[in-house]
Amino acid sequence: MIPELGHYALVLALALALAQAIVPLAGVRTGDAALMSVARPTALAQLLFAALAFAALTICYVQSDFSVLNVAENSHSTMPLIYKITSVWGNHEGSMLLWVLILALFGALLAQFGRNIPLDLQAASLAVQAVIAVSFYLFVLLTSNPFTRLAQPPFEGRDLNPILQDPGLAIHPPLLYVGYVGFSVAFSFAAAALLIGRIDAAWARWVRPWTLTAWIFLTLGIAMGSYWAYYELGWGGWWFWDPVENASLMPWLAGTALLHSALVMEKRDALKVWTVLLAILTFSLSLIGTFLVRSGVLTSVHAFATDPTRGVFILAILVMFIGGSLTLFAWRAPMLRQGGLFAPISREGSLVFNNLFLTTGCATVFVGTLYPLALEATTGDKISVGAPFFDMTFGPLMVPLLIAVPFGPLLAWKRGDILGAAQRLLAAAALAILALGVTFMIQGKSVLAPFGIGLAVFVIVGALTDVAERTALFRTSLANSLRRAVGLPRSAWGTAVAHVGLGVMLLGIVGESQWNIERIVAMKAGDTTTVGRYELTLDGMQQRAGPNFTEVLVNFTVREGGAVVTTLSPSKRAFASRQMATTEAALMRHGVSQLYVSLGDVGEDGTVAVRAYDKPLVLLIWLGTLVMAVGGGLSLSDRRLRVGAPRPSKAKLGLQPAE
């Protein structure tokens, strides 16, 4: 009964979405406020029914109702409860249900908290949001119904893919989806503005919190996925330039560009056409990501050989939204009024610079990801584009951008003084060169590492310089500076913190990629091997049974200079229900670095293939992304951006202080 209720709720959500798509648009067209007001309640009701459908599927999983095909294929009665719940989105159908649930959630939030937005803009945005929802409800219902029943239910399910039975992966998809789907709000706003033909600085102010929210979640989602791959896949890599990773990186890059261009639009009323285009492109890239992952056109862990009708369906959705929105853009964008003038050297100019490099970087990732597809479609040749391609194209493009990061916030709006900014960055540059020199002295064989460390230090100190300048640190009394720091807008803090996070992440990337020590050896009990400054001794093995697996633990003692530091026990798990094995790496943190021990084959004669790494600074990669997300959060909490904040009066709007 519960699956049928869920199915029915989903159909009702579709019906509500249809109403929400058609009625408010008719209202916008005829100027009928009553019709426009339909958008709000339908959006809220749509969330209710989407949530009901999702809850129904969750109940099926919790109860291990194997009469539901989806549950039988992806769950097992002995699985811990937490994984029974996360199994809901650990498969194609369930994850698409989560997708539409989050879409409905954003629609409802927009309806609930967007009361300060003009009625026509809100109604049109919600209508566009509903059009997206309709196509995805249809996709779920027609091609990926999670509620399909089995005539003869099996006694036991086939279990969730063991590599997904992990807390990291439990929260990764929801975070990522909130990010992906959150950009739909910016898209809907852009399409609505084009439909209405009115766009101004206030528009950017309304769009920014939504974009920022999506961006924060996408940042966290990508970082979570990266950390999961690092410890779960057992070979210590944190980014593989896998098509599916690229699929999430592209919207992130475009979304980051959007955040920055929306700033120009909000403060200076410039770059309108570009910002609207970016809003469209960002969500389009999210859709392309969904297509790449869900259609199975690319070889990847995520891309299973799937039902071709799904691929075609998503492709149709993709063509409809990207084609439709770009057509709308080409048709309506020329009507948009030109904005304020600015000199190339100015805050606006630096943000344009940022956008130029981020979008170009995004384009290189796009080419590298889709070129194999295009080539196969045209010549039939099958190729793979690996990490070296991205290192050679994306890498160099990010260098000028990173150098420019500290300059941006120090330039004035409209016309900036680059020499003045450079002067203020002297301390940062000096520290960067010092770091470069020291790194080179300590470890002189590569040029890349010292340069990378220097650049990272420049970004971090440069971001702090901005705060120091704004609080007049060292130029006035400390108390005065403190008072200024408290009075500083949260968005200024957010910018500085996010940029510091970027630098910290860069430190981690440089450390991990340049000084990573890898050791692969075959060991027996009693053998010792050295990794960096640690000695690793294999003590022995033991068998253990988990809830739905059995594992072989291999115990190591870690010594540093003869003294015992800790013991590590990486393991090999065997999952009977899927006849699969996974490797659980063992990690030891020292400072922000990690010792990483993972296993290969465990032989019958007691020999074990051991993979051990010393990964300097590796934790900074994820710590940096976390700091970036915190920066985003600070920005979001800025009073002027708060979603529910009272609407500033018209007169004030025109006179916002430029900062």
């Binding site: 095909l69 294929e73 194609h92 159908e93 994850s95 989560l98 089995l150 099996p154 036991e156 893919n161 997904l164 990764h172 998809p173 990522l176 979570m224 996925g225 990266s226 999961w228 791959a229 896949l233 070979w235 890599g237 980014w239 593989f240 896998d242 599916v244 990773e245 992952v293 199975g296 070889t299 990847s300 995520h302 299973f304 050989a305 799937t306 039902d307 600015f342 190339p344 610079f353 130029l356 970087g361 384009a363 290189t364 070129y371 040749d381 099958k382 190729i383 793979s384 584009v385 690996g386 391609f389 160099p396 493009l397 692969i520 006849q579 699969m580 290969g600 084959d601 293939a609 993979r611």
Partner: protein, 191 residues
């Protein structure tokens, strides 16, 4: 600065950055891509040493030899021809005889393929698409699998397809897919 000049600066800057990007892409595409071939294609059109390749097929049952714990030799077959492959390092957890595999590396002068990366299929439902295509080309693909997958009585114990090249065990149409976790590569091993 007039609007015209400003626009010109912007466009010139944009074009310059794009030109650099295009240059980088063309340069990188020159030597950082690997073509995918099947063992049959490789025997028909041999590729000289020094070109990066990906070979896909099934691990020939009975061909896996380990001279030492970390060295491994095996053959990749598409049911018609087989290519000997050597690899040093730790193989992915899912590497098994009779299962789908993709090896990336270069041909050595003696006709042996030296792999630096080995990718194995991920579970009984997953098969690298190139491998599936290569097997289909050789006629070793049961088309029932294409259809059966969707209707297959789920919950029936996953049939271990090991040892049977004609039943690669991949059931296209079967629904399991990961929910887009970032940061996953095909389970593999790289040296």
């Amino acid at each position: 600065m007039t609007r015209k000049q400003r626009r010109f600066t912007l466009i010139a800057g944009g074009v310059a950055v794009l030109a650099v990007a295009v240059g980088l892409i063309l340069h990188a595409l020159d030597d950082n891509i690997a073509f995918f071939t099947s063992p049959t294609e490789l025997s028909e059109k041999p590729v000289g040493p020094g070109t990066r390749l990906r070979i896909g097929g099934l691990v020939q049952p009975g061909s896996v030899v380990r001279p030492t714990k970390l060295d491994v030799r095996f053959e990749v077959t598409d049911g018609n021809k087989a290519v000997p492959v050597t690899y040093t390092g730790i193989l992915p957890d899912l590497f098994r005889e009779g299962q789908g595999v993709v090896a990336e590396g270069m041909m050595e002068p003696g006709g042996v393929f030296k792999a630096d990366t080995v990718l194995a299929k991920h579970d009984e439902k997953y098969m690298p698409r190139e491998v599936a295509d290569a097997l289909k080309k050789q006629g070793h693909w049961q088309t029932d699998y294409d259809k059966a997958g969707a209707k297959a009585p789920a919950g029936s114990p996953a049939s271990p397809a090991a040892g049977s090249p004609a039943a690669p065990g991949a059931a296209p149409g079967a629904s399991s897919a990961l929910p887009a976790p970032v940061g996953t590569a095909v389970a593999g091993a790289t040296r």
